[in-house]
Symmetry: C2
Subunit: 504 residues, 2 copies
Amino acid sequence: MAEKRKTAITPTREQDYPEWYQQVVRAAELAEVSPVRGCMVIKPWGWGIWENMQRVLDGMFKATGHENAYFPLFIPMSFLEKEAEHVEGFAKECAVVTHHRLEPGPDGGLVPAGRLEEPLIVRPTSETIIGAMYAQWVQSYRDLPILINQWANVVRWELRTRLFLRTTEFLWQEGHTAHATEQEAREETALMLDVYADFAENWMAMPVIKGEKTAGERFPGAIATLSIEAMMQDRKALQAGTSHFLGQNFSKAQEIKFQDPNGQEVYAWTTSWGVSTRLVGALVMTHSDDDGLILPPKLAPKHVVVLPIYRNDQERADVLEYCNRLVAQLNDATFSGGAIRAWIDDRDLRGGEKNWQHVKKGVPLRVEVGPRDLAKNGVFLARRDTSEKRGLDRDEFVGTVGTLLDEIQDGLYQRALALRESNTRQIDNLDDFRQYFTPNDEQRPEIHGGFAMCHWAEDPAVDQILKDLKVTIRCIPLATEADAGTCIFTGKPSAGRAVFAKAY
Amino acid sequence: MAEKRKTAITPTREQDYPEWYQQVVRAAELAEVSPVRGCMVIKPWGWGIWENMQRVLDGMFKATGHENAYFPLFIPMSFLEKEAEHVEGFAKECAVVTHHRLEPGPDGGLVPAGRLEEPLIVRPTSETIIGAMYAQWVQSYRDLPILINQWANVVRWELRTRLFLRTTEFLWQEGHTAHATEQEAREETALMLDVYADFAENWMAMPVIKGEKTAGERFPGAIATLSIEAMMQDRKALQAGTSHFLGQNFSKAQEIKFQDPNGQEVYAWTTSWGVSTRLVGALVMTHSDDDGLILPPKLAPKHVVVLPIYRNDQERADVLEYCNRLVAQLNDATFSGGAIRAWIDDRDLRGGEKNWQHVKKGVPLRVEVGPRDLAKNGVFLARRDTSEKRGLDRDEFVGTVGTLLDEIQDGLYQRALALRESNTRQIDNLDDFRQYFTPNDEQRPEIHGGFAMCHWAEDPAVDQILKDLKVTIRCIPLATEADAGTCIFTGKPSAGRAVFAKAY
């Protein structure tokens, strides 16, 4: 029993959740810190997940009428300055290019040379440079809408970084659309939030709450910011995607204007929306356990690893032939995530070590095949999500593997949803609120209640209480019914409850 | 007849080839210059071509055992300095990040602040940062080979830029591999050149010569650089892809070493190889004509545009129904490039203007459908590559459209090959060589012979003659038979002919 309780990941989630996360990312070979401050290296298994995320999201964007394009990495400093709130939001975290070559310095080493007349900012987001192009492209209402997405890297100089969750350079997609009317732009903002929620729930198996951010949490320069919020296993919230209604703020700053059908010159209405490699971090924290990564099959780079077991060359030949046929059969099968991807791992490694590598990497199904399995036309199957192991008939396995992967996908979603539901409470007075978010163990500041649904009103006093408790308003859920009440912080009238939580 | 000779692109190829190129790129809506010096905006139609290139190449890389990963955008200056030739090659064109925030300056505007202790270079290529990671990943021969590719943006501060062909920021893939033996690394270098040649010929319909670069044209730090070279319609050469055998130069600079099977510590052998968005420029220059872009169907974003023609609402309803069914049938068909992508263009635009847009964008097939076509179950088909137009039976069209697209693909390759063959000459004396490359019209310096296959020997005198004529040695073809001769420049013995040409 003692052996059984030893976990592949140290520390466990209970012992130290933040460190557990870092260790899972490392053990699953998803990513590593690089020698460049705050920048990560995404390793092939981590890239495989991101590649799947890109493929699925890209299909969803195209299905909703968007096209891809690509805009410059650099933004002239003066462009960023055009929208006042926007530049204020990003000025503190800009990587600034000031020179365009290197030359030998006085002490023999190289020094920057060729000073630029105007510094260039490595894009932290692309509203300003894309807006400058849209201003050229739009003359008439007939040129609208523009529905463009870009897959790109962006840089925000973060002081504290964590793999995937917050890195100086990260990869993302940013949609930027321009519309003739306010209503159309608002509909676009809501549509893309729906796309993100659909992706989170049906591909990542991660339940999310769709909502609107409060004024203090809006994207710099936006009129409204919508977001999807998910609960991680430490019961903290993670913002997993945002969709911004920018009104005419950016179009006025950048002169995106057009002749409407009546010949009037008016400003366009714009939106922007994005998700990033942060989603890989969210995926890890939603599903993984103390033995490492657990992946929803619909985003797993591969689904089934076949592990041949043999003691001599004759057994090896027989077992490998059996395994090859099995892999071919599996690769012909499908599930709701598409084609099944199976492969044989015949590396020369101890069986235990090899097996644990696949556990830690979250391969959904492991299949051991040895001489005894050949004799009875069987396989020995291990599920990563439940740790269940059993022998079964080979044909039965091949015939049901698609259903099994769908079952795993659904089970992960249900498990995550149950966690959120059992850690979400309506709270109606400040004492309960404080207790809910106050660590019950001084050594374990990460222990707290989860999501609190509370009445509230905008007021500086509320901001101070939340700041002291390190709690934020995650969002005002879009799905809330009208539910008048009283702000638990100020006693002011409240039109509905918001979601309060500690957050990443 | 006068009308017929008016071309959609001004100037024509004959009149001014470089300007014709820029106008084709603009008219086809492939890309635009941006307000950021030397950086381009890739528009949706251009991105669609690059997306197809990425998809096909990515599949080829995976089929040859490579995985994707992602490494940081920034390279610490000291990393670049580790390999002496390498830094010398790139120092003059580095974008240098020196600060990490902006703050209000004395005159109210923003100024860079937060100076970095060590400047960061925006990657011009990633050998040094990737090598630093490989040094951590490789301990034993069992950790080799490492076969990784990265899709990324890179920056080289170019003084003269041209859309796709030479831009400050460009997109590319860079493969970086590490091997236990020299032979394996050399085989990898050759293998990836073959992949590039396969892609160029069978997808881009662009014939290429595979060869090795001379010492002066090698990648900075490489032992050998292989390249594929294509002839553009102005008979200049364009280097379309390179594959470098780096020997142990980078592994020594970066300490990529491992224990071999005998327990000896030795340095790894590395390679790198890449193609970029430059390929889109090559595609344009290989196939397009004076009416705009011509695309090989296997890389065209879309294949068939259906143009409905009607004069009233009743005709409109009937014609659109017919067109919708036609598009559905076409989208169920395939050709050797995969699924056929057809769509209806029912925008409210004059028919002539609409038609010319698709001509200029290089849609391989245009199909007009009007009431008379409905009556006889027909379509009116126009081929972009040959300008041939004819009415034909609808079922016949649907049944043969795949074959037709394959025929177009093959025709474009044959046309490009014929151009190269009729503009390639063996030249055996310096006078002929000079004449071949000397403009026969002082007003038209772009007019010259094409490719010259000549005997040569390494010598500074050769370099000077070539420099004066603005001719370069493109490569020493891999396929050359042993063919001893005499260097036409120096009279020294020569082991074989090289390809000489003016080049992009």
